[in-house]
Symmetry: C2
Subunit: 379 residues, 2 copies
């Protein structure tokens, strides 16, 4: 519990749920007949409805991006450092919408939801969802909220991919796109790490082909391994070195195969354990697949500039020097394509030791640059 909710917090917030009865056609060829999205809003929509900002979340994110659900909450929402009064996404100026994506496990329709056709949880029968599908579902949420055009669509990592896709799928509906620590598509190495995570889950005997709910179990070991390998890629080698080095867990070595010898092992096991208790295995598979499939330029002979030609937004691209999951090089590819397509683009490569996770952290240079861009957006 914070001793008191800080002044620059959006304060106590409550999620809302929007039901959609119109079938949603998906990239995989299937159709979702009916679904709901859970979301939160921060700030006030102005009379012109011109100050709305959409937050798109990354792999394990959700709708609770800022503020507190209860005064007793130990931690605020996942992007609280960037959303609030006077913060980069200033809730005195902007009306912020943050949702849990379709296929998620935090309240939007996903693999844990009941399949109306069977009365049981979808599990592995939930369709594969792509970044494009998410953007379509988010556009329907915008319709429901009476938002014709976003002042900005903002996201980090997989969230940045959604922000980019918005400018392609709905060019008239986005004035600014902020893609942070993101990439125009995954590299072979990125896909390889995702595949290890998926195999960890798929090969867990308690996965039961994705229908573990019916067996009353969860593939805990698989999820734990998936999170552990993911977590390594979120931190830089230097950040891990600075945080743990070769520090020992106790004052002597145990010399056996099962003991935790080094602090970094203990940290990883804790991260894996904690995650496996709160995240759905099918959602994890779905999120990694959405990452893998994202490749908007594929439909334009791999010409990213041609792909982005349709966009009407201005762009802000940010990357972090020690991010090796989505390295600055990947952001520069995007910037080059945007320049080639004649778009307005600001690019900032932020010197930060934290690796990919930097986009979630209150790094002063980052927050200042982020605030600087957002403050110049006319509403």
């Amino acid at each position: 519990m914070p001793t008191a909710i800080p002044d620059d917090s959006v304060g106590l917030v409550s999620p809302k749920v929007e039901h959609f009865a119109d079938p949603l056609a998906l990239a995989c060829g299937r159709t979702l007949a009916d679904y709901q999205l859970i979301y939160e809003t921060y700030g006030t929509l102005n009379a012109e409805r011109s100050n709305a900002v959409l937050i798109c979340h990354a792999l394990s994110g959700h709708h609770h991006a800022a503020g507190y659900h209860n005064p007793e909450d130990r931690k605020p929402g996942w992007w609280d450092s960037c959303i609030g009064p006077g913060k980069p996404i200033d809730t005195e100026r902007f009306f912020v919408v943050s949702l849990n994506n379709l296929g998620g496990c935090n309240g939007s329709t996903g693999p844990c939801s009941l399949n109306p056709a069977t009365g049981k949880p979808y599990g592995a029968d939930f369709p594969v969802i792509t970044v494009e599908d998410w953007v379509h579902s988010q556009a329907r949420l915008a319709d429901a909220l009476g938002i014709d055009q976003w002042a900005a669509v903002v996201g980090g990592s997989l969230g940045g991919m959604q922000a980019l896709q918005w400018t392609i799928s709905y060019p008239e509906r986005v004035r600014h796109c902020l893609a942070i620590a993101s990439a125009p598509k995954l590299s072979a190495q990125n896909i390889a790490f995702n595949e290890v995570a998926r195999q960890a889950i798929l090969s867990d005997p308690e996965f039961h082909g994705g229908h573990f709910h019916e067996q009353g179990v969860i593939p805990k070991r698989g999820l734990m391994l998936a999170r552990m390998v993911g977590h390594i890629t979120y931190l830089s080698d230097d950040a891990m070195g600075a945080k743990f080095g070769r520090g020992l867990k106790s004052d002597k070595l145990n010399y056996d195969f099962n003991s935790v010898e080094f602090q970094v092992e203990s940290y990883l096991r804790y991260q894996g354990e904690e995650f496996s208790g709160r995240f759905d295995a099918n959602t994890y598979l779905l999120m990694t697949k959405a990452l893998d499939y994202f490749d908007p330029a594929a439909a334009h002979d791999d010409d990213l500039a041609a792909t982005l030609a349709v966009a009407k937004a201005d762009f802000c691209v940010m990357s972090f020097t020690t991010d090796w999951r989505f390295s600055p090089e990947r952001s520069r590819e995007l910037v080059e394509a945007l320049i080639a397509a004649g778009k307005n683009v600001s690019y900032l490569e932020i010197d930060a030791p934290q690796g990919h996770d930097a986009f979630l952290m209150p790094i002063p240079r980052y927050l200042q640059a982020f605030r600087g861009y957002m403050n110049r957006i006319a509403v």
Copy 2:
């Protein structure tokens, strides 16, 4: 099968086995009463016994480093590009000894061997072995072969760590140490990747606490995952990109959670499958632990130069530009310490796109530098 055994091959070779009845005291505090080492030799020991070179293997390596066991063998030994007539380790000049380390699963005593105390395979009861223990066991093999001093001890990766340890444990017995794509100790990130691999094995229900032999099963899924994650770290991002890119396995996407969509997924699954059928899970744990524990400077207040002061060898250190598992920076740490300790050291950073695996590959610049150093060794 090669159409004919090439002229620059050591040709057909047969492993030999040496039994040791003297107990070996280990770093973990336990003692191995009795053990055997399997090894191969290439070339001829000269009358002065001054031309012997020891090859130390890496995580998944073994004694079969060069030549063929049968004319029908599809592939030669794992370092055939570097060992043979006219090759960097020239068998016209040197007598080369290559062994399978203690704790291995290719013929030396290890977790798959019968525990004389129980009559069953050691399994998880096999003691943890350190790099220092290996060097002691290798020194006994040298004694058995009548080799007082190695012209050179050579290794890549974990093998390089053994080469370094030789110069510390037995300074009088090594004239040259070649440490290739190695490091004076693992970083937190290195340990973290090892820990994921270990957890994959330990959490496999078919691991049975390391006593899977008795159950007639192997922890195939765990070993497969361990190899997959390892394999990603052996290749550079660029090498994976060049080899696979985002190439699809078939001509269209399947959009499901289980299908192989991208070639890189198929490659990783194949590597994992193949490995899980030929490598022992307990040996894998043991090898990763040996890597984690290696830190010779720890006994000297982390002063690597002071640690290496005792060495009498000359050193050749080589690294590869795109190796991110044991980056050039780690080799430079070693070089700096050797310079500070007043040792003769040659350092070469080889421009190569292959990542950590480069040390196993016939890269012309690498082979030429390697040959250049070895040819100047007086025998």
